[in-house]
């Protein structure tokens, strides 16, 4: 009997990736570019100039209604009451009742009782079902709209904004004054000054019909197409969590160096709040820099003075030209401690550091 492979889902830019000779891989059911030749070169382009990523596999979910704000205050571990004005954005985890992380996401205040959540591709269907079930329990006055009609292009790097303006001149006036972690709708494009690389830049949410034209216009300005490979090494250097690796349902935000995203002031009762109170975090996500030659990988064991831990994201840092990792270690392990990582049957020395490793092109850790 032969197995039938499910067809991969394609973003509106799939043909553009293939025309560029991208190496395509399956990611969360989607056919996505891993790289267009060299992921290390793409990484450097983003750190030094500007690169663009097709992240249309991620899902925008719009939540509207008079009760939307209150609903999201109960749904998310961070507090949307912090969103002081339309356009402001907030990073948050969405938790189960037991405090486990269902997803990490960004929520935008759209104004007029509207919000936009941008969730991970691999969890999108489950997220929508979860939010829908909670909405039903919350009562009337809230509408939910998954926006598969939107494509998302992330333009990142020190020259990302000026190259975006060169590609889309009408955006300049509307976004020149846009502060980090804010968004604005301009010329039919929802532009946010956010990203997943540790560099400045924009994420452009636009209609499927606009996507290919925008991608070509950015390419014409010298914005380098970059794939999921570079996206992963850039976010790792920036010390940002990747859902399914550093975060999942088995851990809480408090065990993931994300206590800063859990708004516990005022006794707000969000889903998972009581479990977080009852579940002290014995572990913490920490950065590691390998002091020897080799490459740390996911799930390798870490031996520390205070006990054992595990690498949650390990890899090669093109900016540092050495291996770095995020690891879940006993909370008592201090920054600057030398630990040992089991790399292919050898215990190699690594040092604990406080992420980010790299931000805005600069190395921020001591080796």
């Amino acid at each position: 009997m032969s197995t039938i492979q499910a067809a991969r889902r394609c973003t509106p830019l799939n043909a553009a990736h293939r025309a560029l000779g991208a190496r395509m891989v399956e990611f969360a059911g989607w056919d996505m570019p891993l790289h267009y030749g060299s992921q290390v070169e793409e990484h450097h382009r983003v750190r030094r100039d500007a690169g663009m990523f097709d992240v249309s596999h991620m899902l925008a979910v719009d939540v509207h209604g008079a009760a939307a704000r209150n609903f999201l205050r109960g749904l998310l571990a961070n507090d949307v009451a912090k969103l002081a004005r339309p356009g402001a954005a907030l990073y948050s985890c969405m938790l189960r009742e037991d405090g486990g992380v269902l997803d990490d996401l960004i929520v935008y205040d759209l104004g007029r009782e509207g919000f936009r959540l941008v969730v991970n591709a691999g969890t999108a269907d489950r997220d929508v079902a979860w939010i829908e079930s909670r909405r039903a329990a919350h009562g009337s006055g809230i509408s939910l709209a998954p926006r598969r009609d939107l494509a998302i292009i992330a333009v990142q790097g020190p020259r990302a904004r000026e190259k975006t303006w060169a590609a889309h001149p009408p955006l300049r006036a509307a976004t020149e004054g846009l502060a980090p972690f804010h968004a604005v709708e301009a010329g039919g494009i929802f532009v946010s000054r956010t990203g997943y690389t540790g560099e400045d830049g924009f994420e452009l949410m636009l209609s499927v019909a606009q996507a290919a034209e925008s991608w070509q216009a950015l390419a014409a300005q010298g914005v380098a197409p970059a794939g999921l490979g570079a996206r992963d090494t850039l976010r790792l250097e920036a010390g940002m969590c990747l859902y399914g690796h550093d975060l999942d349902e088995t851990v809480t935000p408090l065990e993931s160096s994300l206590a800063w995203t859990v708004a516990r002031a005022g006794g707000r009762d969000f889903i998972g709040a009581r479990a977080l109170e009852a579940r002290p975090a014995a572990r913490q996500l920490t950065g590691l820099v390998l002091l020897e030659r080799g490459v740390m990988r996911d799930h390798q064991k870490v031996r520390c003075g205070a006990g054992m831990g595990e690498i949650t994201s390990g890899g090669y840092s093109p900016t540092l030209d050495r291996s770095i990792a995020l690891a879940r270690l006993p909370r008592a392990v201090p920054t600057g401690e030398t630990v040992e990582v089991e790399v292919r049957d050898n215990w190699l020395r690594a040092r604990t550091v406080k992420p980010p490793f790299v931000r805005h092109g600069k190395i921020l850790i001591q080796i």
Partner: protein, 129 residues
């Protein structure tokens, strides 16, 4: 051309070049480096080490994964290539020039059992599908 006709190949994606002095140079194929992606670190065997055919003797780490390199024939390691140790990306750029190490075969008859270019090209093609 991604499979030079003057080389021999293994099923584990090493290439082998017989030199005039009776030694062999060993590297990894175009197909192998393409599967691995950017190569960032190479751990080559030390000169003087005696290896058996099929024995793990080097490690290549790429951005994606670690890969073992196996001795294509039995023999003694004569040298590791210092240029690829310093610049592992050479293996991506020119895999058939970037040899990893040289061996002096102790069982030269093993060379005859390796794949020729046509057989290896067929193997690499079948793995792509």
């Amino acid at each position: 051309m991604t499979t030079p006709a003057n080389l021999k190949y293994t099923r584990s994606h090493e290439w082998v070049r017989s030199e005039a002095d009776g030694t062999v140079a060993v590297g990894i194929t175009f197909h192998a480096q393409e599967q691995l992606g950017d190569i960032v670190f190479i751990q080559a065997p030390e000169a003087g080490r005696k290896v058996k055919q099929g024995e793990e003797c080097a490690v290549i780490e790429s951005v994606k994964a670690a890969a073992d390199i196996y001795a294509p024939v039995s023999g003694e390691v004569i040298a590791a290539n210092p240029e690829v140790a310093d610049s592992p990306e050479r293996v991506n750029r020119d895999p058939y020039a970037a040899w990893l190490f040289r061996l002096r075969p102790s069982q030269p008859a093993e060379l005859a059992g390796l794949l020729d270019a046509a057989a290896y090209a067929k193997l690499a093609e079948s793995e792509k599908r």
